[in-house]
């Protein structure tokens, strides 16, 4: 096949950039909907809303529409809960042809009443899918009616798939969360308190992060949405600071909370030693009247790095000089991964995201080495072309990218929502390095055609 001559789709040229000495300014055209006919790795508005709200474990999540959207999102993420697990169930109004013709409001109402009676949730989220936007169901009215009858928040999430991109889905989810925030009592919340935003508790990551902050003497009011609880979200406006990870999904909420409740926010990342440490220091710095918090932060960083440093050196010795390609959802994660990979001696030859913005890509260019390819909203053909051309030894991505790596005989690290191993925090960096090591150093690649593995 002609991998050397893969043409970029017309209209894609501006979403790919290669860093070269004296090259042009980076001006990636992002924030665009995917091109018709391309095989994008992106999803839709519904997907955006669903991933943000998914980990709220004491609410029921009802997908209003035909069966597909609910079936494909049933228990697909590693977001764990310390208590109720309603989020792991899949509910759909499963609209049929007659419902599409005559409207689905009655079915939605009945479904809601029955499900609330059966599961006694603390809230219900109602996701509109594509055709709801067309058949004109008045979801708001149904939600209001049921909320009144059942005495719990019933929140519409306007996530019709075609009405924008995944980012618009994030916004719709943040909007639903914003409706809840402010409803609870903030009594007894410490002045030294934060909310953890954009942390979804995949493989218990939120618990790891929460423990660090608590050790520093900081109260965590709510994590949104990892191991999420309605009551905690309702009183989260009582926190002093919002700490935002996964900037793409949760910045909207942080901004809204700042505007409405005067809560400032900082952006952090929990991936890699460097960024993890910084996210503890940045929070400590927010409370200058309590120098003990900073002292404690330093102590945690010192102890944790000391714990994992020797192992990391072993990984680094083996991985030094290996090359990685990164293609993940948000650009902010890409930054952390580049740093984390450097910690273990690896360079990055391809960096991209589904949903980065112009500033992200400019920052990415600053960070990257010469020759690194930067892509926005890429596709399998493009990703493979660059992986092969740049002779990557590892691809970091999600489930849709995994088979691309494996087909080409390249190592892979799952950095998406399905992972079962925590990659956040200091211990997460250890697991990350271990996973990268185990995949890159596996002897199986010797048989790959890329390595000339002919009989």
């Amino acid at each position: 096949m002609d991998t050397q001559n893969i043409s970029l789709l017309e209209g894609r040229e501006k979403q790919v950039y290669e860093k070269r000495a004296g090259g042009a300014e980076v001006d990636i055209a992002c924030d665009k909907t995917s091109l018709s006919g391309s095989v994008s790795q992106r999803a839709c508005v519904f997907c955006g809303s669903r991933v943000v709200l998914y980990p709220v474990a004491d609410a029921i999540h009802i997908v209003h529409g035909p069966i597909g959207c609910a079936a494909y999102t049933w228990d697909i993420r590693g977001a764990v809960s310390s208590g109720p697990e309603l989020h792991r169930l899949s509910f759909s109004t499963d609209l049929q042809e007659m419902d599409v013709i005559y409207g689905g409001e009655k079915k939605l109402y009945k479904s809601l009443i029955e499900l609330i009676d059966q599961y006694q949730p603390n809230a219900a989220f109602i996701y509109s899918t594509c055709i709801i936007g067309l058949i004109g169901d008045d979801i708001e009215a149904v939600c209001k009616k049921v909320a009144k009858e059942k005495g719990i928040p019933v929140l519409p999430v306007h996530s019709e798939g075609f009405k924008g991109t995944k980012k618009d889905g994030y916004k719709a989810a943040c909007h639903a969360l914003m409706t809840l925030i402010g409803q609870g009592s903030t009594e007894g919340i410490s002045k030294y308190s934060i909310n953890i935003l954009g942390e979804f508790n995949l493989a218990g990551e939120a618990w790891i992060i929460r423990e660090y902050y608590e050790k520093m003497g900081i109260e965590v009011v709510a994590t949104m949405t990892g191991d999420g609880r309605i009551d905690a979200i309702r009183r989260s406006h009582g926190a002093t600071l919002n700490v935002v990870q996964c900037s793409g999904s949760m910045t909207t909420l942080a901004k809204d909370m700042e505007e409405k409740y005067g809560i400032p926010f900082i952006r952090v990342s929990y991936f890699g030693f460097e960024d993890m440490s910084k996210s503890l220091y940045d929070v400590a710095q927010h409370f200058p009247d309590r120098p003990d918090i900073m002292e404690k932060a330093k102590e945690i960083v010192r102890d944790e790095i000391r714990k994992y440093y020797p192992e990391m050196q072993k990984f680094k010795a083996a991985l030094a000089g290996k090359k990685a390609a990164i293609y993940v959802g948000g650009a902010f994660k890409t930054f952390s991964l580049i740093k984390a990979l450097r910690t273990i001696g690896m360079s990055v030859v391809l960096a991209g995201s589904q949903t980065g913005n112009k500033d992200d890509y400019r920052a990415l260019k600053e960070m990257c080495d010469e020759g690194t390819v930067i892509v926005d909203d890429s596709n399998p053909v493009e990703l493979s072309k660059f992986i092969l051309e740049k002779e990557a030894d590892l691809l970091i991505g999600g489930v849709k990218e995994r088979p691309i790596a494996f087909k080409l005989g390249v190592g892979f690290c799952d950095h998406n929502h399905e992972r079962k191993i925590p990659l956040a925090g200091f211990i997460g960096m250890y697991y990350f390095a271990k996973e990268v090591y185990e995949s890159v150093m596996s002897p199986v690649w010797q048989f790959a055609p890329r390595k000339g593995g002919k009989r």
């Binding site: 991998t3 095989v39 035909p66 999102t73 499963d94 075609f162 399998p380 489930v399």
Partner: protein, 449 residues
């Protein structure tokens, strides 16, 4: 109180998924969904988790304007783009709930596109299946795509020494086995859809935009001249099927069989091949059959009287139920999210003493319904796809994974279900599950069972 109106933990998938899967079995074909980006992405993810292969599905990427003014522009642009980037021989186009609800007339748009591009000769073959997600399930989409492929490509003419096999939604390993059987009978054949290689292939030195393998367009074209069609799927009606179309259009006789699972159903299939080829079953299969009969004797005591709950696509459930009755297992519940309306009747035909045996049949159910039944029926094991694991864990019931999807075990694409060989594999797995349970629950710790 149990909620009845909503579907909870669905035991079915949507129509377009089946179409994408079937399109993957046509050589040099790109599946193309006319709808939102999410449909293609979710379906890709779902298929990839089972087959562990790259699965590219293009999308016309609806936006708000498309939804208001119709999908014509996006579809044409999408076809142009996908042709440019993938250079496919075939584009398999399936609709979604969105494009169906706004009422896009896809065949008309395709004609316009052809005219725009200077005629069909310059373009990939376009196969279109209407697959609204609000009706039927993934299996309907699968059959719609297969029928549409034949409708688009098949041509009539002088009869050839050729048999068509429409094998339904089976595993890549099953497809390979069926091809081996037909080859051993020395019968020229056209099997559709053949995703045995596209969804279970080797490593690549470079990226293939479209994986090698699949039924070729010329083979599908010939299907109109075949001497017979064999079609699996107890509930698949001629009016909705590829073989049904070929019979009505070109007079190719349709031989309609259940999926050949178990000795009796496999015998029926092989007897039909003997009849069509006027050849004796090759010794190799006699051997396989003899070993299977021998295995039935060796293992019968372990499984006799065991109770199973069986779920999945209706056709799979029907055939596996009949097989279970051959070995003394009682499928106390045969359940499906599908709702053809034919499941009970077809089961009755294969298992005449169904009621005396206490076999219950339920269509249009979800996993919460099945779970409730499990509490009442207290089965010894579950038989179905991996989505039953939630129930299996909760009620401590062993789950024997068959069919699609298998997202929590390795090698789902390489499982055999069909013919003597597939039945053998299935039987071994069932017996071993029972043995393992007994061994585990025995305080003695027998080292032989």
């Amino acid at each position: 109180m149990t909620a009845k109106t909503a579907t909870q933990n669905a035991c079915k998938l949507c129509n377009p998924l089946g179409a994408c899967l079937a399109f993957r079995g046509i050589e040099q074909c790109v599946p193309f969904l006319h709808g939102s980006q999410g449909c293609a992405t979710y379906i890709r993810r779902y298929l990839i988790s089972h087959y562990k292969e790259p699965i590219d599905i293009a999308s016309s990427n609806f936006n708000e304007e498309t939804a208001v003014f119709g999908g014509s522009h996006n579809l044409k642009l999408g076809l142009k783009n996908v042709s440019q980037q993938y250079n496919p021989r075939v584009i398999g186009i399936a609709t979604t709930c969105l494009s169906e609800t706004i009422g896009d007339d896809v065949p008309m748009i395709l004609r316009e596109y052809e005219a725009l591009m200077g005629g069909a000769a310059n373009l990939p073959v376009m196969i279109f299946a209407s697959t609204p997600s609000y009706s039927g399930t993934h299996i309907d989409g699968f059959h719609a795509a297969v029928r549409s492929a034949v409708k688009t490509l098949a041509v009539g003419g002088a009869k050839k020494n050729l048999v068509n096999l429409f094998s339904g939604m089976i595993s890549p390993a099953d497809i390979r086995y069926l091809k081996e059987i037909l080859t051993d009978f020395g019968m020229p054949f056209m099997l559709l859809p053949d995703y045995s290689q596209t969804l279970d292939g080797g490593p690549w030195g470079e990226y293939h935009r479209i994986p090698p393998g699949g039924t070729s367009t010329s083979a599908i074209a010939d299907s109109g001249c075949a001497s017979a069609s064999i079609e699996f799927g107890s509930t698949l009606e001629a009016a909705k099927s590829a073989a049904g179309y070929l019979e009505a259009q070109f007079g190719v006789p349709r031989h309609h069989l259940p999926l050949p699972i178990g000795i009796k159903a496999s015998d029926r299939f092989l007897a039909l091949l003997e009849e069509l080829t006027e050849m004796q079953m090759p010794e190799k299969y006699e051997d396989e059959r003899r070993r299977l009969v021998d295995a039935y004797s060796d293992g019968h005591k372990y499984v006799f009287g065991q109770k199973a709950i069986l779920y999945g696509e209706e056709d799979l459930v029907i055939s596996v139920a009949a097989f279970l009755r051959e070995i003394g297992v009682v499928p106390v519940l045969c359940a499906s999210g599908g709702k053809s309306g034919l499941m009970k009747q077809r089961l009755q035909e294969l298992i005449p003493d169904m009621e005396e045996q206490g076999i219950e049949v339920r269509h249009g159910v979800d996993f919460v319904d099945i779970e409730h039944e499990a509490e009442r029926l207290k089965p010894d094991f579950l038989l179905g796809n991996s989505k039953g694991f939630t129930m299996s864990k909760k009620h401590d019931l062993p789950l024997i994974r068959i069919g699609f999807p298998i997202h929590d075990r390795f090698g789902g694409q390489r499982l055999h279900h069909l013919g003597y060989r597939g039945t053998q594999e299935l039987f071994d797995r069932i017996v071993n599950t029972v043995i393992e349970e007994r061994q585990k629950s025995s305080p003695i710790g027998y080292t032989y069972m």
